[in-house]
Amino acid sequence: MSIILDKVSHVYSPGNAYETTALSNVSLKIEDNEFLGIIGHTGSGKSTLIQHMNGLLKPSSGTIYYNGKDTSKKDFPRKELRSKVGMVFQYPEHQLFEPTVFEDVCFGPKNLGLSKEEVDDRVYEALKLVEFPEELISASPFDLSGGQKRRAAIAGVLAMKPDILILDEPTAGLDPKGRDEILGMIDKMHKKTKNTVVLVSHSMEDIARFVDRIIVMNHGKIEYDDTPKGVFNNYKELEQMGLRAPEITYLMNDMLRYGFDVSSDVTTIEEAKKEILKLYGIN
C-alpha cells in the first residue's frame, strides 16, 4: 500500500498577490508498515504535504501514485483513497458530533455503505484498538476527558480500516500521561496491525521514541529524510529551521565536550541510560 510523491509542488492562490509556494518539488516514498515521523516549523509545509497523501489537495505539478496508480487519472477511485488513507486532524475531538461515542464511530463505516453487522463489528474493533473504556461506549462524547475524546475520534478514523493512518499532532494539549497513552496506543496498534503510520509532531522526544524514519520539512522542501539518529545528529542545522534535537541528544553532546566517552547520536532516555551506565561498568 505504498504512496509515492514524485516532484510534487503545491502553490496556494496561484496568480494573485497571495501566491505562496507551500511545497516545492517534493519526492517521497512511503513504504508498507512504516512508522514515519514528519517534523518542521509552523508553516514549513507539513500539513500541505499530508493533505496530498489522501487526496484532499491536488498537486499544482508533479504526480502522486497510490499502489502504483496515478491519482490524477480520471478513472482513479478517489473516494477509495480517502477511506484507505485515514487522517486524524489536530484536535480531532472538535469533530465529534453524535449523541453517543458508539454512533460517532459508526459515522465513517456507515458512509462506506456497509451492512449494519459489519459496521458494528468495525466500531467495536476500532474502540478496542484505541483501548477505549467499554463502560463509556454509550456516553456522550462531550462528557469524556480530553484523552478519551481523542481516542474516540481516532477510533472513528480506524473504523474505516485505513491502510495508512496519518495523525497531525495527536497529543497537542494533552497532559503527559495522556500523551504517553495515546502514543503508546498508536505504537501498539502499529505493531499489531502492521499498518503504516505517519505522525506529525512538534515533540522531538516523541518522534525520537517511536518512529523509524523522519522527514524534516523546511520552507516547503524536504531537508532531511533519514533515521532519527541521522536527523538529530544535525541539531545545529535543525535549530536554524526552528526545530531542535531531543534534550537527551544535547546532554550527550555536552558530556562529550566534558570528556565523557559517550556516543553523540543518542536520542532517547533508554539509550542514554545504557550509554552512561556503561561508563561505570553497570549493565
Binding site: 503527559p176 526552528g242 531542535r244 565523557f260 542514554a272 552512561i276
Partner: protein, 281 residues
C-alpha cells in the same frame, strides 16, 4: 497580602436540565489556597481536567468562586463593580493565538486593549511601542498577524496584554500549539517581562521543561492543590508526579533512572549541567 490570594476557593460547574433542575454538579475547584507574591514567576501543573484553567479564569474574574474568596491586588473578584479594575490588573493569554488576535495589523491589535480602556492616543502609541519591543516584535509592527508564525502571534497576544499594563499575566498553555522555536520564544518573552518589567507571571503548562526556572510550582489534582514547592522540590518526586498523570523533565528522569540503577546522583536534577556536574568522575 500577595498580588493574588485565594482563600478556600471552591467552584462547581452546575448543569441544569430544561426545567432548571440540577442535573449534575462537577466540583472543579475544591478549597484552593494559593498566595502569589508580586513579581513572582509561578507555574501551575496538573492533568487534563484538574482545575488549572478554571482557576486561571478566576484570576481575572471570568469566573467567581462558588465558595471562598479570591483577591487580586486586594480587590475581591466577586464584587461586580471591581471587575473592570481586576481585568486591568490581571491579563490573560490563551492557548490558541488565532482566537485572540482581532486586528489586521500587528500594532493595531496591540493598541486595542488600551484604546478600550480610554487611554489617550499619544499614550496608546507609547504603550504599543514599549510592549512590542518588550516581546521582541517591534520590527513586525506593520505586518498582518495572519502571516506570522505561531510563536510570533502568541508574542503579539502577550504584547496586547502588556499594553494594558497589568500587574500580572496569566498564560493558560500558551505554547501547546507551537513548534519548538515558538515555544522557546514565548517562554523567554514571559521570563523577560517578569525580570525586566517585574510583571507577575502565572504560567499553566503541560511541558515540564518550561517549569524549571519558576520561583514556585503548584500541582493540581482533581480540583485540589496536591503539591507545592520549588521546581527542584517538585521534580524530586518522580513517582508521585507520575501518579498525578504528570512527568518530569527528560534530564530529571534520566538522572532518576541512573540513580535507581546504582549511580550516586542527587535527587531533583533540573538541567543538563547539573547532571554532568553530579556524575561521579
Amino acid at each position: 497580602m500577595g498580588i493574588i490570594k485565594a482563600k478556600d476557593v471552591s467552584y462547581q460547574y452546575i448543569r441544569r436540565d430544561e426545567e432548571d433542575n440540577i442535573e449534575d454538579v462537577n466540583v472543579a475547584l475544591d478549597k484552593i489556597n494559593i498566595e502569589v507574591e508580586k513579581g513572582q514567576f509561578i507555574c501551575i501543573l496538573g492533568h487534563n481536567g484538574s482545575g488549572k484553567s478554571t482557576f486561571a479564569k478566576h484570576i481575572n474574574a471570568l469566573l467567581t468562586p462558588s465558595e471562598g474568596t479570591l483577591w487580586v491586588d486586594g480587590l475581591d473578584t466577586s464584587e461586580e463593580d471591581k471587575v473592570m479594575s481586576i481585568r486591568q490588573k490581571a491579563g490573560m493569554v490563551f492557548q490558541n493565538p488565532d482566537n485572540q488576535i482581532i486586528a489586521s495589523i500587528v500594532e493595531e491589535d496591540v493598541g486595542f486593549g488600551p484604546e478600550n480602556m480610554g487611554v489617550p492616543t499619544d499614550e496608546i502609541w507609547e504603550r504599543v511601542i514599549r510592549s512590542l519591543k518588550a516581546v521582541d516584535m517591534w520590527e513586525y509592527r506593520d505586518h498582518s498577524p495572519n502571516k506570522l508564525s505561531g510563536g510570533q502571534k502568541q508574542r503579539v497576544a502577550i504584547a496586547g496584554v502588556m499594553a494594558m499594563e497589568p500587574e500580572c499575566i496569566v498564560a493558560d498553555e500558551p505554547t501547546a500549539m507551537l513548534d519548538p522555536l515558538g515555544r522557546q520564544e514565548v517562554i523567554e518573552a514571559l521570563h523577560q517581562l517578569n525580570r525586566e518589567k517585574h510583571v507577575t507571571v502565572i504560567l499553566i503548562t503541560h511541558y515540564m521543561e518550561e517549569v524549571v526556572d519558576a520561583d514556585k510550582v503548584y500541582v493540581m489534582h482533581n480540583g485540589k492543590v496536591s503539591l507545592q514547592g520549588t521546581p527542584r522540590e517538585i521534580f524530586s518526586q518522580v513517582e508521585r508526579l507520575k501518579e498525578l498523570s504528570l512527568d518530569v523533565p527528560q534530564v530529571t528522569l534520566l538522572a532518576h533512572e541512573l540513580k535507581q540503577a546504582g549511580l550516586d546522583i542527587q535527587d531533583g536534577i533540573l538541567t543538563r549541567q547539573e547532571l554532568i556536574d553530579s556524575l561521579p568522575r
